[in-house]
Amino acid sequence: MDAVSICHTFDDLFPTQFEFMVIYHLHCMDRVEGFQYNEIKLAIRETAKLPFWGDAKEPQVEKTLKNLLRSFLERPPDKVGFYLLTPHAVKIIEIVLHRIDNPYLRFPLKKTFEDYFALPEDAGCDIAHLEKWYRLGFQDNAQKVVLSHLEGLKLAVEDAIKDLNLVLEADHLSAIQMLERFTNHFLNLSMQARQITEAIKMKTDTYYRLRDIADAFHQKISFGTNEQSITQDDWNKVELIKGNVNAFFERVDQQLDLINTKMAFASTKITELQESFKAQSHFKMKLKKTLAWLLENSKPDLKGWVRLPAQFPAKERVFQRFQFHTLRYYDLGFLKKALPVDIVLDDAYEIAQRDAFEQELKEQIMIQHQVESWQQKLTVDGLVNVSEEMLLLMEKMPDSISLSVQAGYELIRNLGDNVTLSIQNELHSNHTKTLHLWKTTVQNNQNTIS
């Protein structure tokens, strides 16, 4: 079903407040033969005069009648010029009247339970009797009646609580009058509480009796007594009845709990009021006066807020500010898997690298040897022509220009304090003219002196 058609159906089925009051007016006339057009017109006009509509406009009689004909008034075919209230209209009026004056509340809840839940005496002897009680009594009547009764009770309790608040707000009542009214409502609540206690007891009794009957049937199956033939199918029926009755009782329990909670709170408050009625009532009045005084004497401030009157203090309260600074959490989504990966060996690269390292090492050793040999020469001869030695080395190993340069550099870098380095403006070159050096000599001063 789509929402639009549900909405239209709702509009058809439920009258406006004004329409309802018109059909209620007609209902009160209690006319079995029906209503004539003029009577309906009068009812609409009379309804429009009711004081709570506010603006007293002339009612639209034709339009209202047309609207009422959609679901609430009908023309009987055998009576020309007459209108009747539809059964639906009567039902709606009954719902409202029922809400205001619930007929169940005239009878104690206990009686409703007794009338509708009492199991027949022979229920334990024959399953057919138990089934009859369940189908005709429990399913068809008892559930609806008891739930309606509980609903009525709940509304009565809510009304009593509402009335209690109204009494508390009635400033014109004296303390004694207030107390009298509170006591009346309190008695009303106590009566409802007693009813609920009795109903709970009845309900429990019924359930235990049903359980005993179920047990008895079960024993008959287990021990195979011949007094009556009980089949497994029968037993299943008993269990189903027991389960359904229990489920319904749980619903009843929920309703009773709801009513009890509301009543218990209201009763506590009444007891409190009775204990310190005068003080509470005075305090309530004073609180009201304080708020009125504050609102009257406070002023709006420049920020659009309010400023208390100077005589009224701002009270201090315990307050420490706590702040925790933490690094912001970044959600990086799924973590990347970092599984270990086997590295594939590159043999050719490894050999090339190994050769390069070995070559490098070899060159370092050769440089070291060369430097040591020049240092020895310097010690023995007292003089080394570095540029000439470097060029000679190059002649011996033509591919190693870096070797001779690094050896010369190392020698000069590690010269001692007593050695003089001399660089002359005289260029020496190898025969291929790839290396050009200024004439460089080192001289050992100690050796010269000696």
């Binding site: 608040n165 002023k299 709006p300 420490q320």
Partner: protein, 219 residues
Amino acid sequence: MENNSAEQSKYDFLTDNLVQRYFAELNIELLKGVHIRSATPYLFNLLDEYQNEFEGFYKDLYGLKLEKRTHDTCTYFYLAFPEGSKGRLSYPGLYKELEDRQVIIGFVLCELYISKYFYADKKFHWDDIRYEIEHGENKDAYLRLFFKESRAEYTPDEWKTTKDKFETVINFFGRIGLIEKELESDELQFTILPTIHRFIEMYNDEIQHIDELLKENKS
């Protein structure tokens, strides 16, 4: 030495597993001015179990009073200053005065609370406050205070500004545990808790002597 051992036994409760687990949270909540009720059972039960010990702890170390109150079947704890002193929280950053707006709206909330005296559930909606402003006994004063002038109608923006003002204060009372706000609702809906009596208690003197203030104003 004797003194030391006495001190030791006085604070032995701090070594209890549950105290160690929840003390940090409890201490922060209390010092922030929150009222602890059974809605946070682990904190409430801890205070209830070690009430005497915690009273001593806050008295000795903070110079504060740990108070326990019961109103409308609800029991709650909070920290309060002793009479005429601020304990060891006299440094201005360690306490706060209620703001003017909090006081006024606090009284509005108290009035709403009392209006449902016999109802167990004291749930309210923004419309309830709006009704008080538009049609309540103090209608003129409300309009002057929150709209600066009394007019026949106010724009939706003006109503929104007023609603926001109330909501800001209601959020504050929610933070200190006097109100429970419906977080799942887009509308402003809240329940005034029995802990609102703490606010009433703070202003008890002023409420009791309101007639004197009224006389003063007249003269």
